[in-house]
C-alpha cells in the first residue's frame, strides 16, 4: 500500500509537469479560450494588485 499524502491540486493539474513546451502551449491556449466565457462576469474584477473592483467597468 502506498503512503497517503496531503493533496493540493487535481491529477489533471499535476499532469501538466509531463507536458513539453509545445503541449503546454496547446493546452493553455484551449484553457484560455474556454475561460473567455466568464469575461462578462469578471469584467470589473481584479486578480492581482491592490484594486478589488472597477467602479466603472468598460462594456
Amino acid at each position: 500500500m502506498t503512503e497517503r499524502r496531503d493533496e493540493f491540486l487535481s491529477e489533471e493539474d499535476l499532469d501538466l509537469e509531463t507536458l513539453s513546451s509545445d503541449e503546454l502551449d496547446v493546452y493553455w491556449r484551449l484553457w484560455l479560450t474556454q475561460a473567455q466565457i466568464t469575461n462578462d462576469l469578471d469584467r470589473g474584477d481584479y486578480s492581482h494588485g491592490v484594486f478589488d473592483r472597477d467602479p466603472a467597468p468598460a462594456e
Partner: protein, 261 residues
C-alpha cells in the same frame, strides 16, 4: 510559444530584462495548474522600463483599466497598474507592480540578478509562494504544491502546507526546523502531532488572509477619491492612444491618488 503572456514578456524584455512574469502565469510555466486568464509582471522601477512597457502596450491597442498610473511615484509605494486589450478573440489583461507584496528588497534584488528562465523569465518558487499569500483560499493549495517543488529543505519547511510533509521534514532536517522556527512559529510545535499541526496550518492561513485583506483595505480606502473620479476619467480616456491616456492618468492622479496608502 502561442501564449500571449509569454509573447508579451519577450516584447517587454526586448533588448534588456525589464519584466518578470509572476503569479498565475508563473504557476502555468512551472506546470502546476491553469489558474488565471490574466497576466501580471514585476517591473524594474525605472523610467526607461515604464516607457517601454507603455509603448509595447500601445502597439497592442491596450487601454488603462482602473488602477494607478504606470509611474514610479505610485508604483514605489506598492500601487498596481492595470491594462487590457483584445487579441485573437482573447481578452488580454496586464497587471504590473514594481514592489510586490511580502517580497523583501533582498529577494527582489536577487530576482533581477538571476531570474528563473522558463519559456520566459519568471519569479522564483519562493517569491511565487509569497505572492500567493493572498486572501484567496485556493492560493494556499498552490503554495502547498510549490513547496514540494523547492529543492532547498529550508524553503520547504518555510512554505509547506502539509502536516505530513512537515513531520517528514522534521525527521530528516531537525536542525533546519529549529533554525527556521524563528521565521515560522508553527515549526516549533511539530512535536505536538498531526492534528495540532493541521490546526496551526489553518490558523496560519487565516492570519495571512486577514493580513492581506487589511493591506488591500488600506489601498482601497486611499483610492476613494480616485475611484469616485474614475467613471468620468475613463470616459475621457476612451479612444485615446495609450501614451496620451497615460499623460492624462498621471495628471489626474497627482490631484486625486495619494502616493502612500
Amino acid at each position: 510559444m502561442d501564449n500571449p503572456y509569454v509573447r508579451l514578456t519577450h516584447e517587454f524584455n526586448d533588448g534588456r530584462l525589464r519584466a518578470i512574469l509572476a503569479s498565475g502565469q508563473a504557476v502555468v510555466l512551472y506546470r502546476l495548474a491553469m489558474v488565471s486568464k490574466d497576466g501580471d509582471w514585476i517591473l524594474r522601477e525605472e523610467s526607461e522600463t515604464l516607457a517601454h512597457v507603455i509603448a509595447t502596450l500601445a502597439r497592442h491597442g491596450a487601454r488603462y483599466r482602473y488602477g494607478a498610473p504606470l509611474d514610479q511615484r505610485w508604483l514605489a509605494h506598492g500601487w498596481s497598474s492595470h491594462f487590457e486589450f483584445q487579441e485573437g478573440g482573447l481578452r488580454v489583461r496586464c497587471d504590473f507592480v514594481t514592489r510586490p507584496p511580502r517580497v523583501s528588497e533582498e529577494a527582489l534584488r536577487a530576482l533581477w540578478e538571476a531570474p528563473v528562465q522558463k519559456e520566459a523569465p519568471v519569479v522564483s518558487l519562493s517569491v511565487l509562494a509569497e505572492l500567493k499569500k493572498t486572501n484567496r483560499e485556493k492560493d494556499y493549495a498552490v503554495i502547498g504544491e510549490l513547496a514540494r517543488r523547492m529543492d532547498d529543505p529550508r524553503l520547504q519547511v518555510l512554505y509547506s502546507r502539509s502536516a505530513r510533509d512537515l513531520l517528514r521534514l522534521s525527521d530528516q532536517h531537525p536542525t533546519i526546523i529549529l533554525e527556521a522556527a524563528s521565521e515560522r512559529p508553527l515549526l516549533s510545535r511539530l512535536r505536538e502531532g498531526r492534528d495540532e499541526i493541521e490546526r496551526l496550518l489553518d490558523q496560519e492561513r487565516r492570519a495571512l488572509i486577514r493580513k492581506n485583506e487589511d493591506r488591500l483595505d488600506r489601498y482601497v480606502q486611499a483610492a476613494s477619491s480616485w475611484g469616485a473620479e474614475w467613471p468620468r476619467l475613463s470616459r475621457d480616456l476612451a479612444g485615446r492612444p495609450l501614451p496620451a491616456a497615460h499623460e492624462m492618468m498621471v495628471a489626474k492622479a497627482v490631484e486625486l491618488l495619494p502616493q502612500e496608502a
